[in-house]
């Protein structure tokens, strides 16, 4: 007999094998998932979930695909949360402090409760990256928020109504585009290609017979 546990999906009790994740336990229980299920491997944030263990006070947030079921788990999925993404033209904005002021002014209403950090399914220091955003320190905000998968659990718990993942995306795009130093070797290679420097060479290799390509491939020098 498999080791079973009792879990409650939206308040209804199911007995499921103890080694399943919340997501696979829901499927075991008979659910065909449409919402609340994306990559199933912890990268897309589709399966934000809230649960409480029976008899305990603490509300926990997690990804259903990355969390094993426990006895007495009361589960509610959060397949959608109305986070608020503001639109902008990445070519027009600059990495200045006022960008955040203009696009996400509510970050200045943060009361420092740290509920976002406690809710983060990636264990990021969310409140800290919002603090960096407030100061216009986009690079640090980008670094601190880099592993964010946008599940939105932080925003669910925020009393100030901040859409934290959106703030992180903006900081990262500003950093990637404007703050990180230019890759000169990349710019040069793009220019060489546009200039036609490789046109003849690529034509030549495309025309080579397979036997010659095999010879070239099997004897090519591999960089150490």
């Amino acid at each position: 007999m498999e080791n079973m546990v009792n879990v409650y999906f939206f308040g209804k009790k199911y007995s499921v094998p103890a080694d399943l994740t919340i997501m696979t336990a829901m499927e075991y229980a008979g659910y065909t998932l449409k919402r609340g299920c994306g990559c199933r491997h912890g990268f897309c944030g589709a399966c934000a979930t809230i649960y409480r263990i029976k008899g305990k006070n603490e509300l926990k947030t997690c990804l259903a695909c990355q969390t094993q079921v426990e006895e007495g788990m009361y589960v509610a999925t959060v397949p959608f949360f109305p986070t608020d993404k503001r639109t902008y033209d990445i070519e027009d904005i600059k990495p200045e402090q006022r960008v955040m002021m203009d696009l996400y002014p509510e970050i200045y209403s943060c009361i420092g409760c740290n509920a976002c950090t406690k809710a983060c399914t990636q264990d990021l220091n969310v409140m800290q990256y919002i603090a960096y955003a407030q100061r216009g320190d986009f690079e640090k905000c980008a670094e601190e928020s880099f592993d964010c998968i946008g599940c939105g659990c932080c925003s669910v718990r925020c009393p100030a109504g901040i859409s934290h993942p959106m703030v992180g995306v903006l900081a990262r795009r500003l950093t990637g585009k404007y703050i990180a130093p230019e890759s000169k070797h990349l710019t040069e290679r793009v220019e060489e290609i546009h200039h036609g420097d490789y046109d003849q060479l690529i034509e030549q290799i495309m025309q080579k017979p397979i036997t010659e390509m095999q010879e070239l491939y099997n004897n090519r020098e591999i960089e150490k």
Partner: protein, 533 residues
Amino acid sequence: MFTPEMMESVKKVEATRAARLGVEPRRMTAEEKDALLKEFHPDYREEAFAEIKVGPNKGQKAPKELVHLLHSNSRLLSEKVDISKVDYDVDVLVIGGGGAGASAAIEAHEAGANVMIVTKLRIGDANTMMAEGGIQAADKENDSPVQHYLDAFGGGHFAARPELLRRLVMEAPDAIKWLNDLGVMFDKDETGRMITTHGGGTSRKRMHACKDYSGAEIMRTLRDEVLNRQIPVAEFTVAVELIRDDRGQVAGAVLQNLETEDYLVAKAKTVIIATGGAGRMHYQGFPTSNHYGATADGLILGYRMGAPLLYQDTIQYHPTGVAFPSQIFGALVTEKVRSVGAQLVNVDGEAFMHPLETRDVAASGIIRECTARGKGVNTPLGSGVWLDTPMIEEIGGPGTIEKRIPAMLRMYMKYDIDMRKLPILVYPTLHYQNGGLEIGGDGFTKVIDNLLVAGEAVGGIHGRNRLMGNSLLDIIVFGRNAGKAAAAKAKNVELGNMNLDHIQAYAEELKEAGIDTGDVSPLLLPKYARHER
């Protein structure tokens, strides 16, 4: 945590580690690789394939599960959908909200077209989001697009379509620059030089990365850009059939609201199929690294309209899927783990092969180790081999794992496995469809001149195997190209009367062949729900 038997093997791995450090295992010769593939690669297991009996690839083989869908009828055959009632009317209809679809939409929008995305789940619910290791481009001084071509062509067993591979390698640096200029945060040193590594089968270090969230960083940036441009995105809206007109052109698609199951009609001057892969078909019973919606929908839609497939019989099994613990079974362990120093090690602590052979060779080597050689590590779920992750920090210093592969560290730590101290167990997982719909160098299918395909749904870019980092690249290169080409084409398309005659014709063909699967296709979602009765 690991079983006592597994821990016994870990001791052997630890005992040989010092001796293995700094010794690069020998690479196989071409003959050795060929023999290994023939004996152990899943593509050579004949009983897993069946013959396609209808359509343009009639007489060729494909995985049984795919053939079943190709042999099934449209779900619209028994539905009365009034296609004259048009819900969306656009220049460019992009089917699929992954990296290829988003890139296509952005470029079509940039070109001034009226473009929309329809996607089965959410925008970004795609294999792009899950690509960890990186993206190739020949942009360093010791490298060139020609070298990139050679690596990819050889790695794909000399089967790639030259005109497609040319576009892939020649437009790669520009793709990286485009992403960089959109704000993707690539790993760079303080001078701006890209930090690049090897992938399996590369002869130059040209793997660009964003830690091990490379695909996620690219996808969330593209998604943000799509939303900034206010390109309409219909989520949870799945294309169930293409619509054609009486001139033989594609004229849009019948859509279905996945939640209400209501049908909708999108009319379009050009259509881009960017529906991604097929991992959730679980060919040969393999687990998969793919996202929930990877069910080959676009292949079915295109095929039913007469667009041929290419290399539909070749599948990529990523050598390193999670073999233990069960909760993450089949999840991807990025090739970057080997790029930064981890070796493949068997139950006795021996490095049994070079860690950076191409994926088909590496997967076959692992399967051989676990079967014919009997040197796999037994787990409660089957078997696997070690990926000796503590080597990474012996080589790169403490902190390397957290800095370079944080997603991997996090994934295992949830199950109390600290890969900085302990090796991890891996076994091949269904990762990528090498084949797909055939296109020309311009991105259009060869039989319907206003139908395009981009991304994993395309066959022929890589040949019969794909190198790491060339898929993230192809979705950008071919996605962008498809968007531009579709926008230009739409200016000259005049649509005739719309119809669904092709699904009737297909049904007739199936009937004549005496085939009745009793199912409809495309699949849309895998059937994971367990029903006791």
